[in-house]
């Protein structure tokens, strides 16, 4: 998997609201060892777009999200929000920009202050920042709760789904431009989940939001995202248009993830075997492609050389793999010995080669 590379960045577009380049997040695990949570990830977001990030626990999706809002500051890389480099900002400047980047967390109940009433929780942002153009009662109403009740009730008097609505209202109170949702529906029932997803879609169009949506539930991500990024052990395997990724998954890991979805109409089920073993340690990640230790297609080259993200066809679909699953005619590009086509320098890559 694994890929680095920046070919997939849409630098020509003027609509880019967030550009993340070579993001590295490491946590010290002992005196000399580091957990390599995120290694050289790059991606960009257009205004009004939803990017879904999927992967198993421990793949670095939450670390990526938190690194964007500098919680904590990533080790290296660049996070460009509307032309402002967040990595270099002083504390006070960062504080001023944070309202524009809001986050919703997985556990709706523990992310709300249990001792304050719900109105205060939603209102706190505007109390600190002054009028941001969002009226608190109207916001509470727009997420489907009663504002008068909110003045008297505390979070524990609401159900999990309602608490997630409160979290959404609290995030929207600051008039954000980017909303980062870290597993917002994982703790919720199917019916409540449907309501929160619909609410997020409504709020997105109403407030003109750009959304990063993190989840391990691939059906949910498929539904809500314009683009999807698949992560494994701190690297990006595949990124592109969500329909393309789900219809023609090219990375062996994406195929494993898709095959595991318990959807009776899942066309991917049974196509690949499950992964052997556990996720390797992020302290000493495998060399070359990080997925090679569990990959059915791994060969010698995967150990030596890290694949970079390359485009498939002319579509918005990028994969980082030496032996991707692509259409038969494209497979013919691989020599009979199973050697991948030559792509040593990333600038020369065209897949398939232009006529």
């Amino acid at each position: 998997m694994a890929g680095s590379g920046k070919n997939h960045l849409r630098s020509e577009s003027e609509n880019i609201i967030l550009k993340v380049e070579d993001l590295v997040v490491e946590f010290p695990s002992s005196k000399k060892d580091f957990v390599h949570a995120v290694s050289n990830i790059s991606f960009d977001l257009e205004t009004g777009e939803t990017l879904g990030i999927v992967g198993e626990s421990g793949c670095g999706k939450s670390s990526t999200a938190k690194a964007i809002i500098q919680l904590p500051k990533p080790k290296s890389g660049s996070v460009l929000f509307k032309g402002t480099e967040l990595m270099n900002l002083a504390k006070e400047e960062l504080r001023k920009i944070r309202p524009k980047l809001q986050m919703i967390y997985q556990d709706p109940i523990s992310s709300l202050n249990p001792r304050r009433n719900v109105f205060e929780i939603v209102n706190e942002g505007s109390k600190i920042w002054g009028d941001l153009g969002q009226e608190t009662s109207a916001l509470i109403e727009s997420v489907g709760l009663d504002p008068d009740e909110a003045r008297t009730k505390k979070p524990h008097e609401y159900s999990g789904g309602q608490c997630q609505r409160i979290s959404i209202a609290r995030a929207l109170a600051l008039n954000p431009q980017i909303l980062i949702c870290d597993e917002p529906v994982s703790a919720l029932d199917v019916s409540v989940q449907a309501r929160i997803i619909n609410l997020l879609e409504d709020m997105k169009s109403q407030f003109g939001l750009t959304v990063i949506f993190i989840s391990h539930d691939l059906s949910v991500v498929k539904n809500i995202s314009d683009r999807v990024s698949v992560m494994y052990l701190g690297k990006m395997c595949e990124i592109g248009d969500s329909d393309l990724i789900y219809e023609k998954p090219a990375h062996p890991y994406t195929r494993v993830l898709l095959a595991a979805i318990p959807d009776p109409e899942n066309m991917h089920s049974g196509t690949v075997d499950l992964l052997e073993g556990e996720l390797p340690s992020a302290i000493n990640p495998p060399s070359g492609c990080r997925f090679r230790t569990r990959c059915p297609r791994a060969e010698a080259i995967c150990e030596k050389e890290e694949p970079v993200l390359v485009q498939i066809g002319n579509e918005d679909h990028w994969v980082a793999c030496h032996f991707p699953h692509i259409d038969i005619e494209l497979d013919a590009l691989t020599s009979e010995k199973g050697e991948p086509i030559d792509h040593k320098t990333e600038d020369e890559i065209l897949w398939p080669p232009a006529d």
């Binding site: 029932d189 309501r195 539930d217 009776p264 992964l275």
Partner: protein, 355 residues
Amino acid sequence: MSPMTKTDSAILEVENYKVGFRTERGLAKAVNGVSFSLEKGKTIAIVGESGSGKTVLNRGLMGLLTDSNTIEEGSAKFMGEEIAGLSRQRFWGTNIAMIFQDPMSSLNPVMKVGKQVAEPLVLHQGLTKKESKKEVINLFKLVGIPDPEKRFSEYPHQLSGGMRQRVMISIALAIKPDLLIADEPTTALDVTVQKYILDLLQELQDERKMSVVLITHDLGVARGRADEILVMYGGKVMEHAPSEKIFTEMSHPYTEALTAAIPRLKDPKHTRLIPIPGSPPDLVHPPVGCKFAPRCVYAQENCINEEPAATVKGRHSYSCFYPVGTEKNKDAYQKNAAQGHTAAGLKISRRRVLK
């Protein structure tokens, strides 16, 4: 009464089973007359939202609800022997085992995992410490825990969620139970781990001719794994059928609503989900008629005043006056759509067309 009672090889026969809790507000009827039977070596899945009574039903059957404010009524026969209202402790650790929902909090944090798995072996099968260790290591191998000798003397916090759930499964399987109750065994886990755990349970079940009660809120999981599906709502059985029939001949509006709320892989991105309107019923003062009527788009006058009896068609039973797919159902919808609301006052907007 269920069409599937009275078979010779039934391991569990439940007849008009009820569990109530005395609360300050009155008696909460969490399970209100459930009947089903489970044959040896088969799996029944119990599906419903939170608050539908599926967990209470199984904790009741297991004999875990012995509080003086809990009332258990009706009949439940385990291997032909009446168990309702009696102590079931002698079955624990010998014939019936249970896997709980949350693998993080169901293990003892200050006890080595190996010792926790060995406990039932020492207590119930009289093995020595040495013998039990050997057996535990075998079990760890069976459930796919790598490095079993090392894991034996680790504590729960040193294991990942998937590994902890595998430890829970090995505790449940240590005693070779006749009946395994699995309460949302994979809800907290990643899709790939979920598939592994479910495959593993199925394999062990085939090998040992074990019967399984699988509680889940995911109809996708239920469809692939269970022989029969029982859909519960408000403490009652809404629909009960062989697993495929639930989908091909879906009859109850609640089953339909549950299915519609789940995002499906084959739908294009941004497909609007259809959540179930309203919230689960108040169990102290449940609706007089059909429990689902207040949230049902097809509800008519008689649904509110009268509780529908079960319609039994071979192995398929459902309790509804206007079953999905019939002319009556279409007429009921037309009528409600024309007047803009159901008999229970639920608003119907034109967008809510299910088919």
